[in-house]
């Protein structure tokens, strides 16, 4: 049994993700956020459950749909939001935006907008942990579509043979843009692909945050013990289109409705209430707290200035200048 504190934390975390995503979605639609925005509404259990199973010094590699991971990693959340707004006070000073958020101080090594590329790079932090004899695990988050990339094979093959401390967190939301996973991969349960690499696979209900937490914890434990990688598949669904604004007309409404019924937040809330872990009043309070917190982030983000032009010519090289205009 998990502690009550943890049960509540997982609830708060999911609420936080939901509120955060809805807020940036709103501001993207208002034209206040530049670029593409990939939202994880509906996938909160996968993100919150997985993050709760990791410690701060574990290395994390994210994909394009990872705001939730970023805000749960320990970074001041308003700096994540400001980054998405492309502002100077963002955690990457506005250089990264939604698809390139990192905070190395909490070992969030960043999202990379090339699908599959983190599957390769995650090998390196795992080797680093092995070389330095620490028990830090590397978690890499990626989607069902990304299983199609070549790096999937190169990564699992290498980590399988070197027994690297990697947790592959495969968030199977059943689509890669408009392409259903069943049209893109021969197996239904993608975790079973671990069979090709002698890597155990776990297929988990990604909408039940406790199942996610337990499954990922098991994988993390294996990795910490030096027993090698695990491929954890979290089955879930994104409620919105591929990006904020995508009408996603390629999906049957029926399907969307059914998945919304299985809202991960609702599932867990009902559990907390029915098991009397929180009361209705406490629930209302938590919700209000989350909303207030996100409102503060929003204010911070909006007030934050744009980055100055000189920033554009910084960081190309360490210790070497490039010229501006």
């Amino acid at each position: 049994m998990l502690s009550k504190d943890l049960m509540v934390k997982l609830y708060e975390d999911m609420l936080m993700i939901r509120e955060f995503e809805e807020t940036v979605d709103e501001y993207a639609k208002k034209g206040r956020i530049p670029g593409f925005l990939h939202l994880a509404i509906g996938q909160e259990a996968a993100q919150a459950g997985a993050m709760a199973a990791l410690k701060e010094t574990d290395y994390k590699f994210l994909d394009h749909r990872s705001h939730g991971i970023c805000i749960l990693a320990g970074t001041p959340k308003e700096k994540v939001m400001a980054e998405i707004f492309g502002k100077k006070n963002g955690i990457c000073q506005g250089k990264g935006g939604s698809m390139h958020i990192a905070d190395v101080s909490v070992r969030n090594f960043g999202c990379n907008a090339i699908q599959g590329s983190t599957l390769a790079a995650c090998l390196g932090t795992a080797v680093a942990a092995q070389l330095s004899d620490t028990d830090d695990v590397t978690a890499v988050f990626f989607g069902d579509g990304t299983v199609g990339r070549g790096e999937f094979n190169e990564s699992l093959n290498l980590s399988g043979i070197w027994k690297l401390p990697i947790v592959y967190v495969l968030i199977n939301n059943m689509y890669a843009i408009s392409t259903p996973a069943r049209n893109a991969h021969p197996l239904e349960n993608l975790a079973e692909m671990g069979c090709a690499y002698d890597i155990p696979g776990l297929t988990i209900d990604g909408n039940d945050v406790l199942e996610v937490y337990k499954g990922v914890s098991k994988a993390v434990h294996r990795a910490r013990q030096g027993q090698g990688p695990t491929l954890v598949e979290l089955k879930t669904y994104r409620w919105q289109g591929h990006f904020s604004g995508d009408p996603a007309s390629y999906r049957p409404e029926e399907e969307v409705r059914a998945w919304k019924e299985r809202c991960p937040i609702k599932i867990h809330r009902e559990r907390l209430l029915s098991q009397k872990i929180i009361s209705h009043e406490e629930n209302e309070k938590i919700i209000k707290q989350v909303k207030d917190e996100v409102a503060r982030m929003l204010e911070f983000s909006i007030k934050s200035p744009e980055p100055e032009e000189e920033l554009a010519i910084k960081h190309v090289y360490v210790g070497r200048e490039v010229s501006g205009k």
């Binding site: 698809m99 599959g116 392409t179 744009e306 980055p307």
Partner: protein
């Protein structure tokens, strides 16, 4: 004449070629029912069905593999790579296979394929959705690179590219998809390897392509008011290079400014400029000047991206400088 967008012009070319030649087929991520990430393949799937309009998994090397093998076997595949930045993920297929197949087997194989791909910056999509990639391929003999600036050119050039027996990388600047222009309803071809003088002039030769063409034309208009008569050459085909048109213009003007969107160092302008410095030296009355992006990756925040990219003022100033030299 009828006015349509570049997106529609390209779409029309695909429709016409698929109707004409059943060896033509289309493949890529989400090109089917969804009609492509930028809507360029709209309607093809409904008309030609899933055999000739093929949604693929997220596997760029496989996409090019299908294109290569099918082209070797006599088909004319048109592959879409969702963003040109992802060509890194099929770079080997293109550079070491497509480009060399005809040569290395002494003409036994041909690779009459087209790789269509959206390129260029301006969308606030940063590092992995904004690059100008032509330079990656410039030193690879065997490739043809086409890069239209108008709907008219796009339609005629795509038709020529599909009919060409050589492999063509067809660059579509994403900021031009909604750009409109006159386009004949009937099928027509524009020859590959022929630049187009988009504006005649005799004071200075400005050599450019894609989105930059329009900035150059705007700058030329403003400079006309100052009595500077600019000739604007739109390359249209980046490889092979239309020396004839360029040299004729340089012989007339003796002054050259190149304007390309990629970073300056190692950009396309270097090749054009060097060619002129080598073969047209006697005609030159001033240094050859490059206008290009700063030598940095494409950053996210609008203030940064705008600073990094070449703009009309940069172009105007460069032209003035060269004319007054």
């Amino acid at each position: 004449m009828r006015v349509i967008s570049m997106r529609e012009a390209i779409n029309e070319a695909l429709h016409e070629e698929m109707a004409r030649d059943n060896k033509v087929f289309v493949l890529g991520l989400d090109v089917g029912k969804m009609g492509g990430d930028f809507g360029v393949t709209k309607g093809l799937w409904a008309k030609y069905g899933p055999k000739r309009v093929r949604d693929t998994p997220l596997s760029e090397a496989a996409i090019l593999g299908v294109a290569n093998g099918a082209a070797f076997a006599g088909y004319r595949p048109v592959a879409e790579i969702m963003f040109a930045d992802f060509l890194t993920e099929c770079f080997d297929q293109i550079v070491n296979y497509t480009a060399k197949a005809h040569y290395m087997f002494a003409g036994q194989l041909k690779a009459p394929l087209v790789v269509r791909t959206p390129t260029g910056a301006g969308m606030r999509a940063a590092y992995h959705h904004s690059q100008n990639v032509e330079s990656w391929f410039l030193n690879v003999p065997g490739l043809t690179i086409v890069a239209p600036s108008t709907p008219y050119d796009a339609k005629g050039l795509l038709i020529s590219s599909i009919r060409d027996d050589n492999p063509v990388i067809f660059l579509e600047h994403k900021m031009l998809y909604s750009f409109k222009g006159e386009v004949p309803e009937q099928t027509y071809q524009i020859p590959i390897g022929k630049a187009d003088i988009k504006k005649q002039g005799n004071d200075v030769t400005v050599i450019t392509s894609m989105r930059m063409t329009h900035l150059c034309l705007n700058a030329a208009k403003k400079l006309a008011a100052q009595g500077i008569n600019v000739e604007v050459i739109d390359m249209r085909t980046l490889l092979p290079i239309d020396k004839e048109t360029i040299f004729a213009s340089v012989a007339k003007t003796g002054r050259v400014v190149t304007v390309f969107e990629a970073p300056k160092t190692g950009g396309y302008g270097s090749e054009i400029g060097m060619m002129i410095a080598e073969e047209m030296f006697e005609f030159l009355q001033a240094p050859i000047k490059r206008v290009a992006s700063l030598d940095v990756p494409v950053p996210f925040a609008p203030s940064l991206e705008d600073y990094v990219l070449p703009n009309e003022i940069d172009i105007e100033q460069a032209i003035q400088k060269i004319v007054r030299f």
